[in-house]
């Protein structure tokens, strides 16, 4: 089998390790580009959410590169993501005539046997060998998240613009190349050290902004038009609420054993949105409350156009923003959104946050 999978941020590195570990050939999903999006948009329903379109485009490109099997995750709603592969599979097969196998991993909760069977059919090597690869893949995910998290912290402090991004991309490549857990750990340590040693402006007090929203647009820089990096270059410390490793533990392990994840965000959302609305809608509200309480300067909400949960969140956001006095910028992304437009809006937002901070410092100074 020649297997491909969704492209989401840097996670492809771990998936590649995992699928190769099963004994299959991997057809790497090409990083999404304008062409991917155009291709996906052409065959998607008009109001499908942006991730649906990008993923469909990615699959089409991977099929052209020779893939014959797609592995993706399912879900049980109430959001659309869980239905993606159902519909994408039908579009690929019935409408476009591809002979392709679509394998969907449902969340293990309630589907343990099914999950087991899929894995049993897929894994072509001995179990211990596969387990070792899975462990390596997981370590790579952890390492990628660690590097990214650190890059968010140091980027606003860099003296020479671009240093952080350069180190990060070298680090990502090194993690991809690493073929043992030990090497992954060494590489991670080495790059964390480079972040530590790069020239920084230690006196600078960056604005602190939380980035929340729907997981795919938060994690895939192509889709969010590099929001995180752009903010960093404007001298803003970005705290991203979603990292893939947290998400995986919450949605597979914890969920299987019915441990409630994201408890604090859920609780914080309570007074504003006591109901789960699918996707990340409720968490978006909860995270905003938490960021306000942690003294952040602002929040950027990222959502695909027509994203149901985030529209619910967006309608409630003004109240949260007003009552807790935290500015929120909502960016609804669709295939027409351009990078320049986003940068302008971010700039205006950051200006506003700066003025607000200065004003607050002044009033604090006066009362003191």
């Amino acid at each position: 089998m020649r297997i491909t999978f969704p492209h989401m941020g840097t996670s492809w590195i771990a998936f590649k390790t995992l699928v190769e570990g099963m004994g299959h050939e991997v057809v790497l999903p090409p990083p999404p580009t304008k062409r991917t999006l155009d291709l996906g948009t052409k065959y998607s329903p008009e109001f499908a959410c942006l991730p649906f379109k990008v993923l469909l485009g990615t699959y089409l490109e991977a099929l052209k590169l020779g893939a014959d099997t797609i592995i993706s995750s399912g879900g049980v709603g109430p959001c659309r993501a869980g239905y993606y592969t159902q519909l994408q599979g039908r579009i690929l097969k019935e409408q476009l005539g591809y002979d392709v196998r679509v394998i969907t991993f449902e969340p293990p909760r309630g589907h343990l046997m099914q999950t087991y069977r899929i894995i049993r059919d897929l894994v072509k090597v001995s179990f211990p060998k596969f387990a070792a690869c899975a462990w390596l893949a997981w370590q790579k995910l952890l390492a990628l998240d660690a590097l990214e998290r650190e890059s968010h912290r140091v980027r606003p402090l860099e003296l020479e613009k671009g240093t952080t991004s350069r180190i990060l991309s070298q680090g990502i490549k090194a993690i991809d190349r690493a073929d043992s857990v030990k090497e992954v750990k060494n590489v991670t340590a080495a790059f964390l050290k480079r972040f530590k040693e790069m020239p920084k402006d230690y006196d600078y007090q960056p604005l602190k902004v939380g980035v929340i929203g729907e997981i795919y647009v938060v994690l895939e820089p192509f889709v969010n038009l590099d929001v995180v990096e752009t903010l960093g270059h404007m001298g803003v410390y970005v705290n991203r609420s979603i990292f893939l490793t947290n998400w995986v533990t919450e949605n597979t392990l914890l969920d299987t054993f019915r441990v409630e994840a994201e408890r604090s965000a859920k609780k914080a959302a309570g007074p504003y949105l006591p109901e789960l609305v699918g996707g990340h809608g409720q968490t978006s509200i909860g995270e905003t409350v938490l960021y306000a309480k942690r003294g952040f300067d602002g929040v950027v909400q990222l959502a695909p156009f027509t994203c149901i949960p985030e529209i619910v969140a967006k309608s409630i956001m003004p109240r949260v923003s007003k009552e807790l006095d935290i500015p929120v910028l909502t960016l609804m992304l669709d295939e027409q959104t351009g990078k320049a437009g986003i940068a302008t809006r971010l700039e205006a937002f950051v200006d506003l946050l700066r003025m607000r901070r200065n004003r607050m410092a002044r009033t604090r100074g006066e009362t003191a």
Binding site: G77, P78, R80, R90, L276, V277, G281, V312, S315
Partner: protein, 351 residues
């Protein structure tokens, strides 16, 4: 003075109004229904909602705003689950929260949470809580609840006899009034319902020689004449008879569930798909019209599925109409005319 309860004439109203009304009136409250959707309501709704909201949600906000100052409470239920297969669209799940954050100057809301997945008695319990807020005793409330369930059953029977919601609502209203005034017995009510059903079924029987179209979509799209620019009337004038999801008995819809490889995650969407499968199975329709709202999340999926299914099922002609606040009558009319013309021609060729 009786407590006045406002009910917005939108969203789940079309599925439940007679039940809601019965419950509140049995408890001695006065029910005030917002007017039919009109330009003013739509504009109010647009003002209060985020631009990304779909038209039914905007319209709902407008209906809520139109009740402000006229009632003591507005009934904005949080309907989460109506069966065990799915929840409703997330916008129903967060509805009271959106209303609270967006519409200014409104009276307190009654927001019971309905989810049958919480247990068989969960809906009854939710109603008991509502009764408590209104100061009604437990026994009284229980009786009101029982009666409301009965009325809902009548309502659904009328709908499956192919009566349209507004008509069924006013028939039930008349019956309720006559029970009070002329001391009619429940069995009289039953027989009146039965005769109304059979005459409604007969009149649709008569039209059976015509072209018959499935008009599917969510009840708040199909039956809100303002949103859909009088679609049903237009079809009638074009001499077409129609079938909607509500005209299929719930059991028959449920029986189609097994044809779905994976259930959709939204109650109303499943009803749409299942009723179309039913129409296909019974060979009842010449074509399918799908009414969808601009930027509706679930419908992006439903619409494509229907398109593929119509194709698969012997190329049944399929027309998808996407509606928003800018949709014009003329545009709809042209498309409907073209579609029905095509069907007439197709039928002519076949015979």
């Amino acid at each position: 003075m009786a407590i006045r309860i406002g009910i917005p004439r939108a969203l789940a109203y079309y599925s439940f109004y007679p039940q809601w009304k019965t419950f509140f009136e049995e408890l001695g409250a006065e029910v005030i229904l917002s007017p039919l959707t009109n330009k003013h309501i739509v504009n109010e709704g647009i003002r209060d909602t985020v631009t990304d909201a779909c038209i039914p949600i905007k319209v709902y906000h407008g209906h809520v705003a139109s009740l402000a100052g006229k009632v003591d409470y507005i009934f904005v239920p949080r309907i989460v689950g109506l069966d065990h297969d799915a929840t409703l669209c997330p916008k129903f799940l967060g509805l009271p929260d959106m209303i609270k954050s967006s519409v200014k100057g409104i009276p307190p809301l009654l927001t019971p949470r309905f989810d049958v997945r919480d247990g068989r008695f969960a809906p009854a319990k939710a109603w008991m809580k509502v009764a408590e807020v209104l100061g009604a005793g437990y026994r009284h409330a229980l009786l009101a609840y029982r009666k409301s369930v009965k009325v809902k059953q009548y309502y659904e029977e009328l709908l499956t006899s192919r009566m349209l919601p507004e008509e069924a609502v006013s028939l039930l209203d008349k019956l309720a009034a006559s029970v009070k005034g002329e001391k009619k017995t429940p069995s009289d009510v039953k027989s009146s319902i039965a005769s109304a059903k059979s005459s409604s079924a007969r009149s649709s029987e008569l039209q059976n020689s015509n072209i018959c179209l499935a008009v599917v979509g969510y009840p708040y799209m199909i039956y809100d004449e303002f949103i859909n620019c009088g679609l049903l009337d237009t079809l009638k004038r074009l001499g077409v008879s129609i079938l909607t999801p509500e005209m299929v008995p719930a059991k028959a819809r449920q029986a189609q569930a097994k044809k779905q490889p994976k259930y959709l995650f939204w109650y109303y969407s499943n009803q749409v798909i299942r009723s179309v499968y039913y129409f296909f199975q019974e060979n009842m329709v010449d074509g399918v019209i799908h009414l969808t709202a601009f930027a509706c999340g679930p419908d992006a999926m439903v619409d494509k599925l229907l398109e593929l299914d119509c194709q698969k099922h012997g190329r049944i002609p399929y027309l998808s109409l996407c509606l928003d606040e800018h949709t014009g009558r003329a545009g709809i009319l042209t498309r409907l005319e073209a579609f029905t013309d095509m069907l007439v021609r197709k039928r002519g060729v076949r015979q």
